[in-house]
Amino acid sequence: MGAIIVSGLVSGALYALVAAGLSLIWGSLGVFNFAHGVLLMTGAYAAWWLSSPDGLGLGLGIGIVGALAFMVVLGFVVYLLLVRPWIGKANAELAVIMTTIAGSIFLQNLILEIFGGRYKTIDQVVTGTVAIGGTTIQAQNLLVIILAPVLLIAMWLFLTRNRTGLAIRAVAQNQDAAQLFGIGVERIYIATFAVSAVLAGVAGILLGGLFNISPDMGTDPLLRAFVVVVFGGLGSLPGTILGAYAIGMIEAFSSYYIGIYWTPVVLFVVLIGVLVVRPTGLMGRPT
């Protein structure tokens, strides 16, 4: 039982990090970033390349900091090339789905071309095991469980206290009014993409410590994040986070009691069930 809850919390925490980034971009730009999973993967590769002896071998600390700095730049580039030209156009929503899918194919194959398809591993940020309440868990798992809420709270404080964070929310709520108050909307969009990419990068580095790194490692978390944002409601950060933990728990319990192969089926049924009852998700707002 303890092990199931731990596993649910770990998945929930990772899904929350991934889905929060998606939700943030949706909230302020009104577009959906299908390249988010690939951003996660790229973050993990950047950390691996900087830290691993097979790469530059600079150690894990520099690897993480460097990878996150790289994510800021990558988020900016993705925004500039794949999102910005379509913002404000009639079919921005559909066009950006297409461009970010194209972007994710590009990045994934680029990584495959540079690093090859073989699995790689990043060192865990913390090693060893910890015994809590009769259950032994890997320290890295515990780190994920603790770090994700800390980061999400930090993000919440950033969005409610910091001027840039407040500006992000202002733009999300009413772009025209925000612009009238002198907020540079363009700058805010870039900031949103950077924050979102950094969250994806953190998730990638954590995931890379738990499992292997491969060019398609971002696909599964992204698909789970789809379920999460539909379940919780896009654009609502509390809804997204609640949805992430709910999906993580459902997945953990279903893997144990029903079987790992049938879990995606269970998730889909849950998703359809939610949609039938509440088409905008648990806490979403209509688009």
Partner: protein, 333 residues
């Protein structure tokens, strides 16, 4: 006088297309060339049908590739596991896919915009999960091998080298006629009206959800047949048909060819299938090229390659009165 020229042009293009269709299988006799031709024709069927829901109706439908995959799996499972006669599995596949398409779209279209894309994407992933979990029936990640040859009234298509080529062509031609007819009918116009100005269209009495569900069901019929033909031709049904890369390839056909044109995706399907196969030695780089093509098309030629026709002034004048492509219209606004 002008109208006569239009009619002559139309008849001439029909004659040319039929002539090419009749001669192509006799000319492309090499195994590789023929294989490539059959695949590109089947992809053309899938892409042009996807265009009906994605381009004309503007539904964020990402389950289309799943219809193709389910079609191929129904054919394989029915014939291999249950010994269904080889022609009956075609009908079975259409029935199953139309039912799945109708049910899922009826549920998914309770939602709007991006949510539809997410749920339909999830459906495609669900198919892969189901295939992996029901290994005994579906063969799991390996897929099902040994799908029997397609047999019509005792004639096995595999026994004659051109048979699958012609069968695929017949499917493409019939499906294209049906799609064009649908797209220009009142039904098709109501889809475009819903896409371009939903509130007004609904106000004029068009039932939004019903029309869209019907569009998805209609487009799933030729797509499921293409899936069947695919399985019978390749002798396998593999979970690769649900993969992200096939979805992207087909998506690029719709977009690069020109969404909302039907013909554009057909041309793009043939060009891109042959192109990516021709650049085989480039490996993964060809997918990067396709990705760049998608972005460049959306950026600089939102109407797709087919919209290049409109650069000819006479055609532009004629076309102005017609239905615009979902991406092309925004370029002018």
């Amino acid at each position: 006088m002008k109208k006569d020229w239009t009619r002559i042009g139309r008849i001439a293009s029909i004659v040319v297309v039929l002539a090419v269709a009749a001669v192509a299988p006799l000319v492309l006799t090499g195994g590789v060339a023929q294989n490539l031709a059959v695949l590109s024709i089947l992809y053309a069927v899938v892409a042009s049908n996807w265009d009906l829901t994605l381009g004309y109706a503007g539904i964020f439908n990402f389950a289309h590739v799943a219809f193709f995959g389910i079609g191929s799996y129904v054919a394989a499972i029915a014939t291999l596991q249950f010994g269904v006669p080889v022609w009956l599995d075609l009908i079975l596949a259409v029935v199953v896919v139309v039912a799945v398409g109708g049910l899922v779209s009826a549920l998914a279209l309770r939602l709007r915009g991006i949510y539809v894309a997410l749920v339909t994407f999830a459906l495609t992933q669900l198919c892969v999960a189901l295939i992996n979990s029901a290994k005994d029936i579906t063969g799991g990640p390996v897929g099902l091998i040994g799908v029997p040859d397609l047999e019509i009234r005792g004639f096995e298509l595999g026994s004659e080298p051109h048979a699958y080529f012609y069968a695929a062509e017949v499917l493409l031609i019939l499906s294209t006629i049906a799609m064009r007819w649908l797209a220009t009918s009142h039904f098709g116009l109501s889809l475009v009206a819903l896409r371009d100005y939903e509130a007004y269209a609904v106000g004029r009495g068009i039932p939004a959800r019903r029309q869209r569900v019907l569009a998805i069901m209609a487009s799933s019929i030729p797509t499921s047949l293409a899936g069947c033909l695919y399985a019978h031709y390749l002798i396998v049904a593999s979970p690769d048909v649900f993969s992200f890369s096939l979805t992207t390839l087909l998506l690029s056909m719709v977009l690069v060819g020109g969404a909302g044109t039907i013909y554009g995706p057909i041309v793009a399907a043939i060009v891109l299938t042959v192109g990516t196969e021709g650049l085989h030695q480039l490996g993964n780089i060809r997918y990067m090229i396709v990705a760049v093509l998608i972005v460049l098309t959306l950026r600089f030629l939102p109407g797709g390659l087919w919209s290049l026709w409109t650069l000819v002034p006479a055609i532009r004048r004629r076309r102005a009165a017609r239905v615009p492509s979902p991406f092309a219209e925004e370029a002018s606004s």
